[in-house]
């Protein structure tokens, strides 16, 4: 299968004028996104998702590395005809009505007037704004603006869509509608690059996901492989680092938080694992069969990488 997006060694740092420090927002990122799939681009706050997307659209420029979309260098004018972007919390010209703003975006693609009118009306219908299309955007609610955002991302019949948090601010019904819309986009053969914190959504719609933190991709794969298999979770306490090393021979994903062990194994390995833990002085706390969710994998991946979840120094600001 062809790749719709190919990212090679993409790096971007920002200079903070106040602290005089460089923040590496995206760190030698390499990623392939196959065409015709919904790709979940995941990571905690501040991981570098938006920064990556903005580089792919030519809004900001990488320090090094390169990216190609549909075989052409990212940021090229030709590429931009075939892709679209929904920014996180999008803003539009507030003096325009819903109809006018979509019409304006249509003209930027050079769509002829007659066709544009039909297309815009169709899109407004599709995102449920037909009855509000002659209202100025200043008077739109947050969710209505988000819907305009989706509509403008469909104006040019794009082959690749970059959606940054498309369901933020939407009510539960709108949320479902947008999820269906995204699934329909795949049926139509489009590629969707989806950044979202709604892991249950991602789990439902995505074919592949990547999980990044601090600018680096920690895990990438087909969703069904990542979620594969019924596993059994074993939790124990008083586990030493030496014991963890032995446990890892059976359960490579095992990790310690302080002295508390969390490990997942295939059901037929449970006895072996328990033996190892007990022989090394650990106390078994729980043995539970579980279907792994994307949330488990997300948290596990971030914790295993042994990094703080984000760079937000929450503790620092709380203690002040």
């Amino acid at each position: 299968m062809e790749n719709a997006i190919e990212i090679r060694d993409l790096t971007k740092s920002f200079h903070n004028v106040l602290t005089k420090e460089d923040v590496v927002a995206v760190d030698h990122l390499t990623l392939d996104v196959p065409e015709g799939q919904i790709f979940g681009f995941l990571g905690p706050n501040g991981a570098g998702k938006t920064t990556t997307i903005k580089m792919l659209l030519g809004l900001i420029f990488p320090d090094s590395g390169a990216a190609h979309i549909l075989g052409q260098p990212a940021g090229d004018i030709d590429v931009k005809r075939k892709i679209s972007y929904l920014p996180e919390t999008p803003y539009f010209y507030e003096h325009m009505t819903g109809f006018e703003v979509l019409d304006f975006y249509g003209t930027l693609f050079g769509i002829p007037a007659q066709k544009r009118k039909a297309r815009v009306s169709e899109l407004l219908e599709q995102v449920g704004l037909a009855s509000n299309m002659h209202k100025r955007l200043r008077f739109y609610s947050k969710g209505m603006l988000q819907r305009i955002g989706l509509a403008q991302a469909l104006v040019n019949d794009p082959r690749v869509l970059f959606l940054d948090e498309p369901t933020s601010g939407l009510d539960p019904i709108a949320h479902l509608e947008i999820r269906d819309l995204i699934l329909r986009l795949r049926e139509e053969g489009r590629t969707v690059f989806l950044s979202s914190h709604q892991l249950s959504d991602v789990e439902m719609v995505c074919d592949r996901v990547s999980i990044m933190n601090r600018g680096k991709v920690l895990k990438v794969g087909a969703l069904k492989d990542l979620l594969a298999g019924q596993t059994t979770e074993v939790r124990a306490e008083k586990v030493s680092d030496a014991a963890l090393a032995k446990v890892k021979e059976i359960a490579p994903d095992a990790f310690l938080v302080e002295d508390a062990l969390s490990a997942r194994v295939e059901p037929d390995q449970v006895n072996r694992l328990v033996d190892v833990v007990v022989q090394n002085g650990g106390h078994i706390v729980a043995v539970t069969p579980s279907q792994r969710t994307l949330e488990d994998i997300f948290i596990e991946t971030i914790q295993q990488a042994g990094m703080p979840v984000a760079d937000l120094s929450l503790e620092g600001s709380l203690s002040q």
Binding site: I60, I77, K80, P87, H95, L108, F109, G110
Partner: protein
């Protein structure tokens, strides 16, 4: 084509923006106020009306030019409306040039409306005696009419000069706006405008024997680098047409070309800076 779409949108935005409309209304109001000026003797009245009217068109025009210049591009960046524009097939130069052209058209429209109101007021106030004379089969009435029409065409030239001056001011503000915050830009553009209006002063300082030698290059640099807004003050010869002014037409053409060239350079520089700007 895309440039034109951006320009048209800029005009539409300006027409719906209250602040610019407020300036236009204030300008029209202050021009109309001159209708109430007491009737002095004819010559004096003409002189006062002219300097007052052109002054008002310029005064309110300055606000429109600066406000548009400093806000058009930064507001798109700050409000992030730029994301959905530059992620579409819009080249960065098309965006900047489109914004500038939109400002040029909006400014033109505003100056046109203010100028038209001024000319109307001027006609009503000054033409009355000429028409009265005409009505009385007074031959000198024709002379008055002829004088009046030459006054009007002179004033149109004056208004055109105000436009060229303010277009240049808008270009200065737009150029700074691609890398400067609105507040800093407001003061900087105003300062450039004020210094540029003193172009005859900086010029004579540079050549005066009384200026300290070390300062001369400084004045010279100021004079060359800062756009010479003072060039457009042809108000004096217009207000006193009896003062001989050789080749006023040629002078205006030169000033217009100078302004156009300077404006184009500023827009090109703005494009070059914006090309690598992170939004």
């Amino acid at each position: 084509m895309t440039t034109w779409v951006i320009a048209k949108n800029t005009l539409g935005e300006a027409m719906r923006r209250k602040i610019l409309n407020v300036f236009l209304i204030l300008a029209l109001g202050s021009v109309i106020i001159s209708l109430t000026f007491p009737f002095l003797d004819f010559r004096q009245q003409v002189t006062i009306l002219k300097s007052f009217g052109l002054g008002m068109v310029q005064f309110w025009g300055i606000f429109i030019a600066i406000i548009m210049g400093i806000t058009l591009i930064p507001s798109d960046v700050d409000q992030r409306t730029i994301y959905t524009i530059l992620s579409k097939p819009v080249k960065r130069y098309e965006y900047v040039v489109g914004r500038f052209l939109g400002a040029a058209i909006t400014l033109g429209l505003n100056i046109f409306l203010m100028g038209a109101a001024f000319l109307l007021v001027f006609a009503v106030k000054t033409n009355a005696p000429a028409f009265t004379a005409l009505g009385n089969y007074d031959f000198r009435g024709f002379l008055g009419l002829w004088q009046w029409s030459s006054e009007i065409s002179g004033l149109m030239g004056g208004i055109a000069m105000v436009y060229m001056k303010l277009l240049l001011l808008a270009a200065v503000a737009i150029f700074f706006s691609v890398f400067m915050s609105m507040t800093v830009n407001f003061f900087l553009s105003s300062a450039v405008f004020i210094i540029g209006n003193l172009s005859s002063v900086t010029e004579s300082m540079a050549s005066s024997p009384n200026t300290a030698a070390v300062l001369k290059p400084l004045y010279k640099a100021f004079h060359v680098l800062v756009p010479n807004f003072g060039n457009y003050d042809i108000q004096n010869p217009l207000i006193h047409p009896d003062v001989p002014q050789a080749d006023i037409g040629m002078y205006m053409l030169k000033a217009a070309l100078y302004g156009l060239a300077y404006t184009i350079i500023l827009v090109v520089l703005g494009v070059l800076v914006f090309q690598r700007k992170e939004v």
